[in-house]
C-alpha cells in the first residue's frame, strides 16, 4: 500500500525500467572500481565523525602541560576517545584502499583496452578522479599538524612554488601565503572537507552517468554467446535487485575489513611524530607518493636552467614535470591507441604486445622510482639507482614485447 502511494506519485516502475535495468557484467575484475566507490563512502562516513571533533587552528593550546597547536591537540584528543582512534585509522586506511583500488581499476581498463572508442571521455574522467583523490589524500596529511604533517606540507609547498611562472602565486593561493602561514590549516581543512569532496562527487557522478549511458565493456568470453544476440545486448545481471545485493554485501564486507585492519594495524601515529618541533626525522610519504618522493632523490642538484623567464630547478623536474608528464601520457593513451569502430568487448593483453609492454614498462619505471625512495636504506647512490631504473624499464618493456609478439605470431591471433 505504501508502495502504491509512492508509485502513484513518482512512477517508480518507469524509473526502474529506465535506470535500474542497467546490466552489470559478472566478472570479478569489474568489482575493483566499486571498491574505490565504497572506500569513498567510508571516508565520508568516518570523516563526518572526525569533522565534529577536529579543530582547524594552529593557535597554541595546553596539552598535558606543553603548548601545542590546537589542531594537533584536537587529533590527540580524538585518539583518546572511545572508538576515536579506530575511526581515524579507518579514515586513513580507506584513503589508502581508495587509491589502491583506483590504480587497480585503471590497470584493468588499460590492459583490456577498455579506454578505446567510445570510452575515451570516461578514461579522462577516471584519471581526474585519481588526481583529485591524491589531492584529497595530500590535503589530509597536514590536518593533524604533527611534525610529519608540517615536514610533508613544507616539501609540497616548495614543489608547488617551483612551478615556472605561476608557482609563486599558486603556492600562496594554495597554502594561504608563504609557508608556514597561519591560515594554512583552515584553508587545507576547507579544501579537504569541502572543495575536494565536492569535486570527487561531481566527477563520480559524471563517471557513473557516462558508464550507464555507454554500458560496460564485456569480457571476451561473451563474444558469440546467444544471450547477447550477436553483441546487441550486454550479458550480465541488472542493477536491481541482483547487482544491488552483491554491491551491498560487498560494501559491508569491505567496511568490516577496513574496521578489522584499523583495529589491529596503526597508521599515521601522530603521537609518535609529536607536535611540530625543530629537526626533521627520517620519514617517508604514504606509498602512493613514493614515486615522486623517490624521483626527487634521483635528480642531480646542479640540473637547473631558465627558459622564457621561467626557472626550472631539480624540484620543478621531480615535483612538477615528472608527475605532470606521467598524467599527460596516461591522458593521451586513448588518442594514440585508437579504434575505428566502437569497442564493446575487452581485448586480451596477449593480443596487444605493444600496449601491454608499454604499460608494464611504464609501471616498472614508476615502481623503480618508488624503490628509489629507499636508496638511503639500500645504500645505493642516486646515479646508480637511475641506471638501475633505466635498465629495469627497458628490460621489462623489451622482454614483454618480444615474448608477446612471438606468442601472437605463433598462435596467429
Amino acid at each position: 500500500m505504501i508502495y502504491n502511494w509512492f508509485e502513484e506519485r513518482l512512477e517508480l516502475k518507469k524509473f526502474k525500467a529506465k535506470f535500474l535495468a542497467k546490466t552489470f557484467p559478472t566478472h570479478p575484475s569489474y568489482l575493483v572500481g566499486e571498491i574505490a566507490l565504497f572506500s569513498f563512502i567510508t571516508l565520508v562516513l568516518t570523516g563526518l565523525f572526525l569533522g565534529f571533533l577536529y579543530e582547524p587552528s594552529v593557535k597554541l593550546v595546553s596539552l598535558f602541560g606543553s603548548m601545542v597547536p590546537a589542531a594537533y591537540a584536537s587529533v590527540v584528543k580524538i585518539d583518546l576517545m572511545p572508538m576515536g582512534m579506530i575511526i581515524r585509522r579507518m579514515h586513513h586506511w580507506s584513503a589508502m584502499l581508495m587509491i589502491s583500488s583506483i590504480i587497480l581499476h585503471l590497470m584493468r581498463v588499460y590492459f583490456t583496452s577498455a579506454y578505446q572508442k567510445p570510452r575515451e571521455l570516461n578514461w579522462l574522467v577516471g584519471l581526474s578522479l585519481l588526481g583529485i583523490s591524491l589531492g584529497a589524500a595530500f590535503s589530509g596529511y597536514l590536518l593533524p599538524y604533527s611534525q610529519f604533517s608540517v615536514t610533508a606540507t613544507s616539501i609540497a609547498y616548495y614543489m608547488v612554488k617551483s612551478i615556472p611562472w605561476v608557482g609563486d602565486w599558486f603556492s600562496r593561493l594554495l597554502f594561504a601565503g608563504p609557508f608556514p602561514a597561519i591560515g594554512m590549516v583552515p584553508r587545507f581543512f576547507f579544501l579537504h572537507v569541502m572543495l575536494i569532496p565536492l569535486g570527487i562527487v561531481a566527477l563520480l557522478g559524471a563517471h557513473m552517468t557516462i558508464l550507464v549511458k555507454q554500458k560496460h565493456t564485456e569480457p571476451r568470453t561473451n563474444i558469440g554467446r546467444p544471450e547477447g544476440g550477436n553483441g546487441k545486448r550486454l550479458i550480465g545481471i541488472p542493477i536491481w535487485p541482483e547487482q544491488a545485493v552483491i554491491s551491498l554485501s560487498f560494501f559491508l564486507f569491505l567496511l568490516f575489513t577496513i574496521a578489522a585492519i584499523a583495529t589491529y594495524i596503526p597508521i599515521n601515529p601522530i603521537e609518535t611524530y609529536g607536535a611540530p618541533a625543530p629537526g626533521t626525522p627520517v620519514m617517508r610519504p604514504d606509498w602512493y607518493f613514493l614515486w615522486v618522493y623517490g624521483f626527487l632523490k634521483l635528480i642531480p642538484g646542479n640540473l637547473s636552467f631558465t627558459i622564457f623567464g621561467g626557472k626550472i630547478t631539480p624540484e620543478t623536474i621531480g615535483g612538477v614535470i615528472f608527475p605532470g608528464l606521467t598524467f599527460l601520457i596516461l591522458a593521451l593513451i586513448p588518442f594514440f591507441d585508437r579504434a575505428k569502430e566502437p569497442q564493446n568487448y575487452n581485448k586480451s593483453p596477449f593480443a596487444r604486445p605493444f600496449m601491454t609492454a608499454f604499460g608494464l614498462g611504464g609501471g616498472t619505471f614508476i615502481l623503480m622510482t618508488a624503490v628509489a625512495g629507499y636508496i638511503d636504506v639500500l645504500h645505493i647512490s642516486p646515479d646508480r639507482m637511475l641506471v638501475y631504473t633505466g635498465i629495469a624499464t627497458v628490460a621489462v618493456w623489451g622482454i614483454v614485447y618480444a615474448v608477446l609478439s612471438a606468442v601472437k605470431k605463433k598462435s596467429g591471433l
Partner: protein, 199 residues
Amino acid sequence: MVEGNQTEKGITRRKFTLGVMIASMAGAFASLFSLLKVLAPASKGAGYVSTIKPGDRLVYAKGGNAGSPVKASSMSLGDAVLVYPVGKTSNPANLVQLIKLNESDFKAPTKINLTDQGFVAYSAICTHLGCTVSWVKNTANPSASITECFCHNSMFDPAKGAEVIGGPAPIPIAQIGVKINGDSLVFTSDFTGPIGPQV
C-alpha cells in the same frame, strides 16, 4: 512586423542578448582575477628571512635544556647541535647547526675567520626543500662526519663550507660566524649566502 524592424536596423534582439552575455561573462572573468589575488596573500617577508644579529647568544633549540645557553665545553670533536639565537626562537629561519671540528679540518670555501677553535655554524635549513638537516657522526673518524638532510638525502661537507657532496640540493648551506665568549657562544656575522630552498 517587429522582426522586420529588427533586421532593418542591423542589431537584432538575438545579437544584443549575445553581446550582453559575452560582455558580462568577460566582466565576471576579469573580477575572478582580483578575487584570486585576494585569496593569495602577498609574499611579504616570504621565504626564510633570518633575524639573527651579531652578538646574539646561542641557545639550544630542542631537548631538555632548550632555551639555555650552549656550553662550548660540553661539545667534543664531531658533535653538532641545533641552536637558536636567544629570544628569537619562533622564526624557523633562525635555526642553525653548530658543529665542533678541528681547526685544521677546515678547507676552502669554509670562511675560517667565521669559526672559532673548531666551532663552525651553518643554517639548519636544507637548500633543497626546506627540511631541517641532521648530523651524521662518523664515530671512527669524527672529522669526517657530515650533515645530511633525511628528507631526500642531500649531503653536505661541514669542513668544506657545507658544499653539496651528494643528493639533490642545488647549492651549499650558508655559513654564519660564531665565536666563544666565556663558556658560551655568540654569533658574529650574518649568513654568508641565501638560506632555505632556492625556488
